[in-house]
Symmetry: C2
Subunit: 163 residues, 2 copies
C-alpha cells in the first residue's frame, strides 16, 4: 500500500471542479509555472537551494538552470495532477514515482514542516497568479486541501525504517 494514503480522503465535487478548472488553464504552461513556483520557494527561503545537488554544482542563474526547470515542471505537474485525481482515485496518487520514494527522498534531505509550508504558500501564490480573475477563496481552499493531503501521504512515508 506504499503508493496510497491511509487517511480517509475528503474532497468534495465542488473542490474537484475548482481544481480541474484551474488545472485546465495552467497545464499548457507547466514549464513556466513550475519554474515560477520554485523561484518563489527560493525567494522566500533561499537556504532551501542547498537541498538540490544540481544547484550546488552550477553557477548558472536559477531561472536559466535547465535541471531546475525540468525538476520544477515535474514537481508542479505531479502536485497538480495529484489534486485533479484525488476525488476519483479516492486517495493520493503520484505519477512517475511512488509515495514511498517521495517519503524517502524528503527524509534524506531533511525536509521539515516549515519547508512543506513555504512550498504550499508558493504553490497557492503561483496558481493565483496563473488563473487570474477566477481565483477565489474556495479555489485556494481546494488546492490547499489537496496539497495538505499530498503532504500527509508523503510524511506518512518519511520514516527512517518500516516496522
Amino acid at each position: 500500500m506504499s503508493t496510497s494514503s491511509d487517511c480517509k480522503v475528503v474532497f468534495t465535487e465542488e473542490q474537484e471542479a475548482l481544481v480541474v478548472q484551474s488545472w485546465n488553464i495552467m497545464k499548457k504552461n507547466s514549464a513556466d509555472l513550475g519554474l515560477k513556483f520554485f523561484l518563489k520557494i527560493f525567494e522566500i527561503a533561499p537556504s532551501a537551494q542547498k537541498m538540490f545537488s544540481f544547484l550546488k554544482e552550477s553557477n548558472v542563474p536559477l531561472q536559466h538552470n535547465s535541471k531546475l526547470k525540468s525538476h520544477a515542471m515535474a514537481v508542479f505537474m505531479m502536485t497538480c495532477e495529484s489534486a485533479v485525481q484525488l476525488r476519483k482515485a479516492g486517495k493520493v496518487t503520484v505519477r512517475e514515482t511512488t509515495l514511498k520514494k517521495l517519503g524517502a527522498v524528503h527524509l534524506k534531505f531533511g525536509v521539515v514542516d516549515e519547508h512543506f509550508e513555504v512550498t504550499k504558500f508558493a504553490l497557492l501564490d503561483t496558481i493565483k497568479e496563473a488563473v487570474g480573475e477566477i481565483w477565489s477563496e474556495e479555489m485556494k481552499s481546494a488546492w490547499g486541501e489537496a496539497y495538505d493531503q499530498l503532504v500527509a501521504s508523503i510524511k506518512a512515508e518519511m520514516k527512517p525504517s518500516s516496522y
Copy 2:
C-alpha cells in the same frame, strides 16, 4: 560587547535615506503593520505559531489577539529602528533589549535559518504594501541588507554557552 555586531557594517547613505524615507511613512501605523507582518509570517509558515506561548494559551483569532498585537508591534519597531540607526550607530542596535537576550530567546525556541528567511520575506512584503508607489528594488535591497545585519548580530549571540 554583547549588544553590538562584530561584523563591519556596510550601509550606504543612499540605503539609509531609503530606509528613513519609508520608516517615516510607516511608523505612525506600527501597530497595524506589525500585526500584518506577523500574520504574513503565519500565513507562510503556520507552524511558527507554536513558538509563541501566548498563542498556545488562547483561542482568540490571531488578528484579535492583543498579546500578539503588542509583541508584533514591538518586533516591527525594533527591526525598523535598527535599520534606521544602522549607519549612524555603525552597528546593529536594538531597543528595550539586548542582542544577547535576543540571541538567547531565538536559540531557546529553536529558530533556524528558514524562520529568519520567511520573516525577511514577510517584512519586505509588509513594507512594500505599506509604502506603495515609492517601493523600488533599491529600497527592497536597503531593508534586506539592514535585516540581514540584524539577523547576523542575533545569530552571533545564538550560542549554547559563551566561550
